[in-house]
């Protein structure tokens, strides 16, 4: 967004080189972050007029609909709004300019469950338009899991995974085995963690497929269960295994 210059390499956004072509790029971007504030002394209506004067694609009808959906009043001053209302006001300003790309940095942090649901519902509505993209960063993996179709994991400033959500959720499994004294634990692909006991091990794998179950059974072990993992569990397992391999 032109806020910080990259340490190395180059950044391109919507076909524009950053930061030298940032003004052109930002015409198509809506940005909302948890720590971004609007002007406290001004009203919601003033902010709407301000943004409308900058973005030619500003959709007043949509903005009015969002005002009512988010239960915001145009004449309310920003300083009088709750945190949830402020986030919703910022989101309204970003959505009604109809950007091709919405950059949302922790937008649901600190929101009550009702406000969070309203925000996520609106984002999901945006995603029905195939020409629009939302880049949503959050520590709340439940929110990410709910609205994303592609997931990126970032650890210590580095991208460690980027793929379709369904593929990611399909690949990661926890396999609970029963290893009789006569058998040995089979070498399975993509195992990042082995916990439990020697007789009842629990394997976490990043490369699960149905053949893995057959392989275990062929080696004399009993597969007690194959459990899907949540995005949070996948993230933690992924990060921990990488940190063990590459300590800081």
């Amino acid at each position: 967004m032109g806020l910080v210059r990259q340490d190395s390499g180059s950044v391109e956004m919507l076909g524009h080189r950053m930061p030298c072509e940032q003004t052109a790029a930002k015409l198509d971007i809506g940005y909302v972050s948890e720590d971004m504030r609007l002007y406290g002394v001004a009203t919601v209506a003033w902010h709407m007029n301000f943004i409308a004067s900058i973005y030619p694609r500003w959709n007043q009808t949509y903005a009015d609909a969002l005002l009512s959906r988010f239960d915001l009043k145009p004449q309310q001053k920003i300083k009088g709004l709750s945190h949830g209302q402020r986030v919703k006001a910022a989101l309204l300003l970003a959505l009604a300019r109809e950007p091709r790309l919405l950059l949302l940095d922790e937008p649901t942090t600190g929101l009550d469950p009702v406000a969070r649901r309203e925000v996520l519902a609106e984002l999901m509505a945006v995603l029905t338009d195939e020409h629009r993209t939302i880049l949503f960063s959050s520590h709340n993996t439940l929110d990410v899991e709910q609205i994303s179709d592609r997931i990126a994991f970032i650890d210590r400033g580095r991208l460690i995974a980027l793929e379709d959500k369904e593929d990611l959720l399909d690949r990661w499994r926890r396999i609970r085995l029963l290893v009789p004294p006569s058998a040995v634990l089979p070498q399975l692909p993509g195992v990042v963690e082995v916990s439990g006991s020697e007789r009842l091990p629990v394997l976490t794998t990043s490369q699960f497929n149905p053949a893995v179950v057959s392989l275990c059974q062929d080696r004399g072990t009993t597969v007690q269960s194959v459990d899907p993992m949540t995005l949070e569990e996948i993230f933690v397992a992924n990060v921990q295994s990488r940190r063990e391999l590459q300590p800081a």
């Binding site: 910080v4 940032q22 003004t23 971004m36 609007l38 002007y39 002394v41 001004a42 301000f50 910022a90």
Partner: protein, 228 residues
């Protein structure tokens, strides 16, 4: 961080935004300025001096306060990310901040400076004071540019306070120094206007400081890698 060309419409929008958000402070300075000017109408010499001092206080006060509020508060109140997320480059942002502050200062500064010079041109007035008055008027412009530069570059309350202190001291100390320069003091209280080489040198040096300070502001802003 260079951008292809400056979007002047965006600069204007940002200037109007700052003026709107600080409209009560700007409007509040008008009656204070008018009240100061009204004192001149009493026609007494002491009233003239008092009026000039009050006007300078209003002009510098509004200039310093506006520079402080528009630059520091943007960071302090976390609205900087909102503004920088708009289709605006660092150059447009910097230009808008400088112009928003400078124009608000320049309007009353120009009226007061020209007014003071016109009063000194009246028959019977001490015409010799004109070079010194011009020097001090430009000195006020320089100090305001210093405060604006400090605000835009550092976005820090502490540094702007330092700049305001330096400006206040600077006006007094430099005023004293200029008033005692041979080329200025020798003709200051005379009835004839004498633009000596010394007076011209000081005035031109001060005028050069304005583009230097503003150019330095743009240069340092262009070297910034982090606007957070």
């Amino acid at each position: 961080m260079t951008s292809a060309r400056t979007n002047y419409a965006m600069v204007r929008t940002l200037i109007l935004k700052d003026w709107y958000l600080n409209r009560w402070m700007i409007l509040g300075s008008i009656p204070a300025g008018l009240a100061s000017l009204a004192i001149v109408l009493t026609g007494k010499q002491i009233a003239f001096l008092l009026s000039i001092i009050l006007l300078c206080m209003v002009i510098i006060g509004v200039g310093a306060q506006l520079a402080t509020v528009t630059t520091i508060n943007e960071r302090k109140e976390q609205t900087l990310a909102f503004i920088i997320s708009l289709p605006v480059s660092w150059r447009e942002y910097t230009a808008a901040k400088i112009l928003a502050n400078l124009i608000i200062f320049l309007v009353p500064w120009f009226i007061v400076s020209v007014g003071a010079l016109l009063v000194l041109l009246l028959p019977g007035a001490t015409h010799g004071l004109i070079p010194f008055t011009a020097i001090m008027a430009v000195e006020m412009l320089v100090t305001t540019c210093l405060i604006i530069a400090a605000g835009v570059i550092t976005e820090s309350q502490a540094w702007v306070t330092v700049a305001i202190l330096c400006s206040s001291l600077g006006i007094n100390i430099l005023g004293y120094v200029f008033a005692h320069l041979r080329g200025v003091s020798a003709y200051m209280w005379g009835m004839q206007v004498r633009w000596t080489g010394t007076a011209w040198t000081v005035l031109i040096a001060e005028l050069l400081m304005v583009p230097l300070l503003l150019g330095m502001t743009f240069y340092i802003q262009s070297r910034k890698t982090d606007f957070l």
